[in-house]
Structure formats: structure tokens, C-alpha cells
């Protein structure tokens, strides 16, 4: 089998999977920053723990949403 056909065979799948992997890295970095900010804020002002925790979870859900946009794009690359 030709090398090019072998390489092209799964390019769509590879592209989708790599895209999803990069999105996971992005989400990891983003949520890590959120966690860092939240923990530092709690250390500075422990009585605001509840407010900070609520905001942290909310913001983490937003960042995760963006990462999942990329996952959907990856799935589209695989099947469309």
C-alpha cells in the first residue's frame, strides 16, 4: 500500500483526536489557573470561602464548556 494512502487513511480521525487532546490541555491549564486563583484568595480571606468556591465552580464550568466546543469540532472532523 502506498505510504501516502496509509497516512491519509486516518488523517480525519487523527485530526479530531489531536484537536480534542489539545483542548484537554487548554482546559487543564485554564481550570488550573482558576484553582490557583481561588486557593490563593481563600488563603488571603478564609471567611469568603463559600463565595469563592461558588465562583470557582461556575468559572470552571465555563472553561470546560469552551474545551468541549473543541471536542465537538473534533467529532465533526471525524464524522463529517
Amino acid at each position: 500500500m502506498e505510504l501516502l494512502t496509509v497516512l491519509l487513511d486516518g488523517t480525519a480521525n487523527a485530526g479530531g483526536a489531536i484537536g480534542a487532546g489539545l483542548a484537554a490541555i487548554g482546559a487543564g491549564i485554564g481550570i488550573g489557573q482558576i484553582g490557583k486563583g481561588a486557593v490563593e484568595a481563600i488563603a488571603r480571606q478564609p471567611e469568603a470561602v463559600n463565595d469563592i468556591r461558588a465562583n470557582m465552580i461556575l468559572t470552571a464550568a465555563f472553561v470546560e464548556g469552551v474545551a468541549l466546543f473543541a471536542v465537538i469540532a473534533g467529532i465533526l472532523a471525524m464524522f463529517v
Binding site: L3, L4, T5, G10, E64, G65, L68, V71
Partner: protein, 375 residues
């Protein structure tokens, strides 16, 4: 010296690579392309024994029956009504058990890849026939059940409040569950974003929240349908939110979109961006809810499927891996319960934020004095 040798080597390797790639491109004929396509399609079947793709998509996509388990004697399912309308053939309605899980043809229709298609007498698929599938699929049935449960709970709680229980005396029973949730939506979502006009939009926000929440929660039970992870469901919710946001936009809102208060040169970029923004905000709502719920379900099923994928390689590895897989699955399951609540809250919150942006009045300095006087 060594760097130059390495560089020459790299150039040579790259050159060989490039030549190898480009030569077959010119020699390639179209039939090789077909060969790849059929081979790619055949690859999943080679997995033999356990088709992960079929299991995963069988769980997260819509279907004409509730499927629970595959026993050696056959699948255990609850069949649902199939209602079809075709301009040539008229209405047809029957239970999906007649399809015998995709193996039988009934009244000129057959299940092909989960979709009902019209077939000719000889059994081949009739490509030109238009079939409108109005069936009560499992998504529809689950939505209706969730709706009935929701209306029952909320109306009975409302009746209690009307009769005075919880108003002049302490709340009892279900009121204790619903009241904190409604107060939370009012104080954290509606009032901060909509100000004093929140009462007009409050019923809609509550409906959105409770409907998404109950469908998320029911969808987490094994055997139920994946309603919120269905793009059609989220598109409808997003479109309704879009309609609410757009219809409640005031002059100030539209003024900001078509004439944003930015320097003249930037206006050329800002106006298209703002116009696009009218549409991308609901689209983001749609895709966020859809992707979160779909991804959650797929992850859970994939982790369980790993047991069977490993089991195909060797029975011992399959058994040995199951505790790990079940531990992971439990962990992800608990996260998904949290995500169910969070996604319902976020959809509601963002809808409230966008409505708030649409109904925002122009800031006058008197408002600030008013607020300062209140505090």
C-alpha cells in the same frame, strides 16, 4: 561541525520522505481511493466480539425503544410507538417491536441504522420516498415523563403555598426542597442580572432551569435516554432563549449593536462582530449544554466499554481491569451529577445575563445617587 552534519542528515531524510510521498500521488487512480474507503469501513467490524462504537452510539443517540440489557435470549427492551407519515403512503403507526430490533420489515418500512426508511416490495430501500418520522422515540417519552413529574411537583408545591402553608407557617415537605432552589435562582440569577424587572422573566428562567435539570438527572439513570445531549433539544432551548433575548431588546441594546460607542475607525470591525454576537451567544448556549452532557455520557460508557475491549484481548485482563474501570466510572459519575446541576444553572444564568444586557437602561448619575442613598 556536528550540527552541520546533523542538519545535512535531516535535509536528506526530509528529501527522501517528500519524494516518497509525492511520487505515488501522481500514479494514484480513483479506484485506489474506493479501496481505502471500503477498508476504512470494514475496520470497525474487524474488532470482532465487541463493537465499542455501536455500543456507545447506541446509548447516546435517540432510538425507537428503551434498551436495558442484552441477554443471551435477546435484548431486553421497552418498545415505543412508531408514527410515520409519508405523502404517498399516508399515516402508519405501530409498535417498534414489529421491527424486531432492525431485522424485520413491517408495512413497507424498515429500521436502517436507527432511522426508519421506506422499502419496496423486494426489500430494497426506496430512496425517493419521503418519510416523516413523528414517532414517540425514547427522547420524546423521557421528556414527557420529566415534564409530567415537573408539573406535578411544582403545581402541588404552588397549591400548598396558595393555601397558606409556608407563607404564614413553616414550609412542609416538598416545599422545603423547592423553595431554596427558587430563592437561589431569584437572588443569584434573576435579581443581579435583571434588576427590578426580574419578575417578568422569572417564570421563563425557572422553567429553563428545572426542565434542563430534571432531564439531566433522569438521563443519568442507566437505561434512560440521553435527552439533553441531543442537539435538537438544546437547539430548541437556545432558539427560545434567542427569541426572548431579541424580543426584549430595547433601543439602547440595538443602538449599541449598530452604533457602538467606540472610535470611528474601530466601528467597521465592531458592528459585524456585534451582529455576529447576537447569534453566537445563543449558539454557545446550545453547544455548551449539548457537548457537556454528551461528553459526560460518552466518557461513562467508554470507561465501562474498556472492560470489554480488554476482555476481548484476554479474559484475565478483562476481569483484572474491571475494578479500575468501575472506580473511574463511579468517580466520573459523581462528577456528572455535579455537571447536571451546573449546566442547568449556567444555561439559566447566561440567559439571564443576555436578557439583562438587552433590557439594560442607560446609566444616569441619578441612579448612582439613588443606590448610594439606599446603602
Amino acid at each position: 561541525m556536528r550540527v552541520r552534519t546533523v542538519k545535512c542528515l535531516l535535509v536528506a531524510v526530509f528529501g527522501l520522505f517528500a519524494i516518497n510521498i509525492s511520487a505515488p500521488v501522481f500514479a494514484q487512480e480513483h479506484k485506489e481511493g474506493d479501496a481505502i474507503h471500503t477498508e476504512g469501513a470494514a475496520a470497525p467490524e474487524k474488532k470482532g466480539g465487541f463493537d465499542a462504537q455501536e455500543v456507545i452510539f447506541g446509548h447516546v443517540l435517540n432510538a425507537h425503544e428503551f434498551h436495558f440489557i442484552d441477554l443471551p435470549s435477546g435484548p431486553v427492551t421497552i418498545p415505543l410507538p412508531v408514527i410515520l407519515y409519508s405523502p404517498e403512503r399516508g399515516f402508519a403507526s405501530f409498535m417498534s417491536s414489529k421491527f424486531e430490533h432492525g431485522h424485520a420489515t413491517y408495512e413497507g418500512y424498515k429500521l436502517h441504522d436507527g432511522v426508519v426508511v421506506a422499502v419496496n416490495e423486494d426489500g430494497s430501500i426506496n430512496e425517493s420516498a419521503v418519510v416523516y418520522d413523528l414517532s414517540l422515540t425514547r427522547n420524546v417519552v423521557q421528556m414527557i415523563l420529566g415534564l409530567i413529574a415537573l408539573v406535578w411537583i411544582l403545581l402541588s408545591v404552588a397549591k400548598r403555598y396558595k393555601s397558606g402553608q409556608g407563607v404564614t407557617s413553616a414550609p412542609k415537605g416538598m416545599q422545603n426542597l423547592i423553595e431554596p432552589v427558587i430563592t437561589f435562582i431569584r437572588d443569584e440569577v434573576a435579581k443581579p442580572n435583571l434588576g427590578h424587572k426580574y419578575e417578568r422573566y422569572f417564570p421563563y428562567l425557572l422553567t429553563i432551569f428545572f426542565f434542563i435539570l430534571i432531564n439531566n438527572i433522569i438521563g443519568l439513570v442507566p437505561g434512560t435516554a440521553n435527552v439533553t445531549g441531543n442537539i435538537a433539544f438544546t437547539v430548541v432551548l437556545g432558539v427560545i432563549s434567542f427569541v426572548v433575548i431579541t424580543l426584549s431588546g430595547n433601543k439602547h441594546y440595538w443602538g449599541h449593536i449598530f452604533n457602538p460607542p467606540v472610535p470611528f475607525g474601530i466601528k467597521f470591525i465592531m458592528v459585524p462582530v456585534e451582529i455576529l454576537g447576537i447569534f453566537t451567544k445563543p449558539i454557545a448556549l446550545i453547544v455548551r449544554l449539548f457537548a457537556n452532557m454528551l461528553a459526560g455520557h460518552i466518557i461513562i460508557i467508554c470507561l465501562i466499554s474498556l472492560i470489554f475491549i480488554f476482555g476481548n484481548i484476554s479474559s484475565g485482563i478483562g476481569w483484572g481491569f474491571s475494578p479500575v474501570s468501575i472506580a473511574f466510572t463511579t468517580f466520573i459519575y459523581l462528577i456528572e451529577v455535579l455537571v447536571a446541576f451546573i449546566q442547568a444553572f449556567i444555561f439559566t444564568n447566561l440567559t439571564a445575563v443576555f436578557i439583562g444586557q438587552a433590557i439594560e437602561e442607560v446609566h444616569h448619575s441619578d441612579d448612582h445617587k439613588e443606590l448610594a442613598a439606599k446603602h
